[in-house]
Amino acid sequence: MKVETENQQAELRDQALAERIASLLDEQASNIDARIASKLNYASQQALANMASPSSGMVISQNGVIKLFGNYWHQHRLLVTLMMCGLGLLALLAMQNIANQEDAEKGDAYLLASDLPPEVYSNEGFGTWLSENTQQ
């Protein structure tokens, strides 16, 4: 019972404080310069217009998850595009490194160090012989 009374008193105190803050704000707002008031009004209209506009041009944004992503995409499209480009670039370089590793034994040095001289490999007849023997 005592606790309930304390809670009610606290709520009343908060309400009184809120009313005091609101009255102070109203008082200050009535004294605001017309130019600043006009700017604030314009900014608030812009903010409301942005909130009212569709979150994304994507039709599939009916789905909650996609809509969430759509919102993010709409707000940060430049950042997301650049991040995608960065990731693409990293993937390309990673693939290049893997390809280089695979080519480790394919370099010209290994051809020159081979049991057969390089002239043999450029011989057309040897090419034909290789084709026949590779197929077998």
Binding site: L78, K106, A109, A113, L116, P118, F126, S131
Partner: protein, 149 residues
């Protein structure tokens, strides 16, 4: 505002990265003999006189050879040096064909490869007359001209 700042930072980072990546590649392509390090000069010594006349892409290929060279055993390193000059004088078409056939050779069955190695070792050790005879018998293997060992 913060998003634009991050976007600008990422954009600048990506552009710098790309420029540095390609700048390194370009730098490697256009290396005069004097700019090679001692290890590269040692490997590519047979090409010293011709180096500055090589095309940039040829130099790049040769530098790749110099890069792979230290990974090889001594006997193979010697072979590379012996064959460098003739390799650099082959036409791009001949070199490209040689690369393709080298890959084909590697995909041969092990016994075929061994048989071919054996035949080539015999050819190397044979007298000039015997080599001529072998070339007449098996031009597809030994070619029509006496190539380097």
């Amino acid at each position: 505002m913060a998003v634009r700042k991050y976007a600008a930072i990422i954009l600048v980072a990506c552009i710098s990265f790309l420029f540095s990546h390609f700048a390194i590649a370009e730098g490697d392509l256009d290396k005069p003999w004097a700019s090679l390090n001692d290890d590269q000069k040692k490997v590519l010594a047979p090409l010293a006189d011709d180096w500055d006349n090589l095309r940039p892409w040829q130099r790049e290929r040769m530098l790749e050879i110099a890069h792979d060279y230290p990974k090889m055993p001594i006997d193979r390193q010697e072979r590379v040096q012996q064959r460098l000059t003739s390799w650099s004088r082959m036409t791009p078409f001949e070199r490209e064909n040689a690369r393709k056939r080298f890959q084909q050779f590697k995909s041969l069955a092990p016994e075929k490869k061994e048989e071919l190695r054996k035949q080539w070792n015999e050819y190397r050790d044979a007298s000039p007359e015997k080599r001529q005879e072998l070339r007449t018998q098996r031009p597809e293997i030994f070619g029509t001209e006496d190539v380097g060992r």
